[in-house]
Subunit: 339 residues, 2 copies
């Protein structure tokens, strides 16, 4: 199936250069896909020429404005009707593109995408979902920060979207779904989490509560939580990874002997660096919208951005939103039938 | 000042052996302190004899029962009136001991300590506080799991207790206090966190919101959050650290070349291991109780347990609870005066 992916050429710390780099890598990786570069035409053309590539693989869609990284989402939504994010979202809405990928302002991307595309029927709020590295296999975690306070219905909807993603994209016939919670028996979770757990028991994929350690070291495929907890868990994990790297560098840089050791350990350290490379996991999905939108890390380079594009291609090719729509409808009919 | 520390000899996966090992190490480190070993007398005496130490440094207080690691806290509280935790808490209440250290069942320790010692006047709920490793310096974080749903008053009380600890034990004249929150401007935190932030603005030590990354990499001394978020952040951090270690071992164990590299990198890896040694950070404080109680990790070894004992000695020697009491009273009088 040929899919068309719109790329926000203006979003991200190193845009548009890194977007073009990512697009070139993605074009080589996905010969079946078409890419539309959205943004200032002169800048895009200059970058393509600099890279010396055949620009016929890429369409260019002009957008005269772009959203600043620290701009208020509500301002971006109201005042910048011709921003690259807005034009990209419109392309998805009109069907000219099957997905939008942006490394721009997260809040603005969420606000604009929600305004232009609306949520899927039966889904109250879109969630940010991302793949986390694991000792056994990657884990899908959501919500990573779109919704601060979630009701049990939101959590159940997140679990449903996660289940469909795990089945369709990760290829798991019976993914294991867990609710992120704390360990102590007598005080398991806040009210919404407790009630969501009661409701989810009917789902054979639901394995119960999981703890923070399980995200990375556990036997779970989909971890569901509210956006406040999810975002803090995500950033805490990043912090520990940075601290680890800091101490590792410090240890190898201590003296001549340790520096020599580092040199001789280079093959191992290189393998380790590749395993822990967060750029491989770039590309968070805004699930629950009437269209595919993928958020890249703002500090992404071309390689990282190409991975966010891969996430969008997978979502579009698997027609993930159609499947969420079908399942949500079935769930609602099932509930109405039962009541 | 001579302090007396009660040690729950029966709590923890490797008790009583590791408790005795920890006590011996602590006795050497704190010649000014006295230690009371609480538990089954025969088992304690046997361990002391095995270790071949002068047992006159240690008092033994008999307790006929002990709380299982997976026992329900309410059962432990109701049915085991002669458990080592209960007897230890009673020693603190009567003034025979200045602090209790236990590696036993966290929920039971919290329930029993709260029942026996009660909370300090002006403190609604005790919190679990712990030191986290940092690239610059350690950070005190609380609550780590005692309270699932916190009001703004609880968060403000936690910040006050954290501030006093940072001043008195960490020796900081103006500690930086932050509220754990998420990054997006437009949706900063849930209601309790937002309101607590408004109230804390009056405190010159308050630096505003901090994110998960800041716990380990930031310029903050005290991180305040509710126990649900705090526990998940703690466990997530542990998970990432385990994943890092897993990948590091995998990278060095890959083939003969990488194994040789690991051997030659040994001095650096040893330094790294020491920096990241979580046993150094063992000993979470149950702050806000009318008495000093420190929780050791259940899987602690003697070295880790000796560090939990050090935390208790520091809290007792600094008379931290008296200072919290004074400050809370002052805060209340200030508020009443203002209203």
């Amino acid at each position: 199936m040929t899919v068309t992916i719109a790329l926000d050429a203006m979003g991200g710390d190193d845009a548009p250069g890194m977007v073009i780099d990512g697009a070139i890598a993605a074009a080589a990786r996905h010969p079946e896909a078409r890419f539309l570069l959205v943004g200032r035409e002169d800048a895009i053309k200059w970058e393509l020429k600099e890279a010396g590539v055949d620009s016929s693989r890429f369409g260019i869609v002009s957008a005269s404005q772009f959203v600043e990284m620290d701009e208020k989402p509500s301002d971006a939504l109201r005042r910048k009707k011709d921003s690259s994010i807005r034009v990209g979202a419109n392309l998805v809405k009109s069907g000219e593109a099957d997905a939008l990928v942006s490394a721009g302002n997260t809040g603005a991307l969420m606000a604009i995408a929600r305004f232009v595309l609306k949520t899927l029927p039966g889904i109250d709020r879109p969630a940010i979902a991302g793949l986390m590295p694991g000792s056994v296999r990657p884990t899908l975690m959501m919500d990573l920060g779109a919704n601060v306070d979630c009701t049990l219905d939101h959590l159940v909807q997140f679990s449903l979207m996660g289940e469909i993603y795990a089945k369709e994209v990760m290829g798991l016939s019976k993914p294991k779904i867990g609710l992120l919670n704390i360990g102590e028996e007598e005080m398991k979770g806040n009210e919404a989490v407790k009630k969501a757990g009661d409701l989810l028991k009917a789902n054979p994929c639901y394995i119960g509560n999981v703890e923070g350690t399980d995200i990375f070291m556990g036997d779970v495929d989909v971890v569901v939580c509210d956006g406040f907890v999810g975002n803090i868990a995500l950033k805490t994990g990043e912090g520990v990874a940075q601290l680890f790297t800091h101490f590792l560098k410090k240890a190898f840089g201590k003296n001549l002997l340790t520096k020599l050791g580092g040199l001789l350990a280079y093959p191992a350290l290189k393998g380790f660096k590749s395993d822990m490379d967060h750029r491989k996991y770039n590309g968070a999905m805004l699930l629950g919208l009437n269209g595919v939108v993928v958020k890249s890390h703002g500090g992404a380079d071309g390689y990282a951005f190409s991975n966010a594009i891969r996430v969008a291609v997978e979502l579009a090719e698997n027609r993930i939103n159609d499947k969420i729509k079908t399942e949500v409808t079935r769930l609602h009919e099932g509930r109405e039938g039962a009541s």
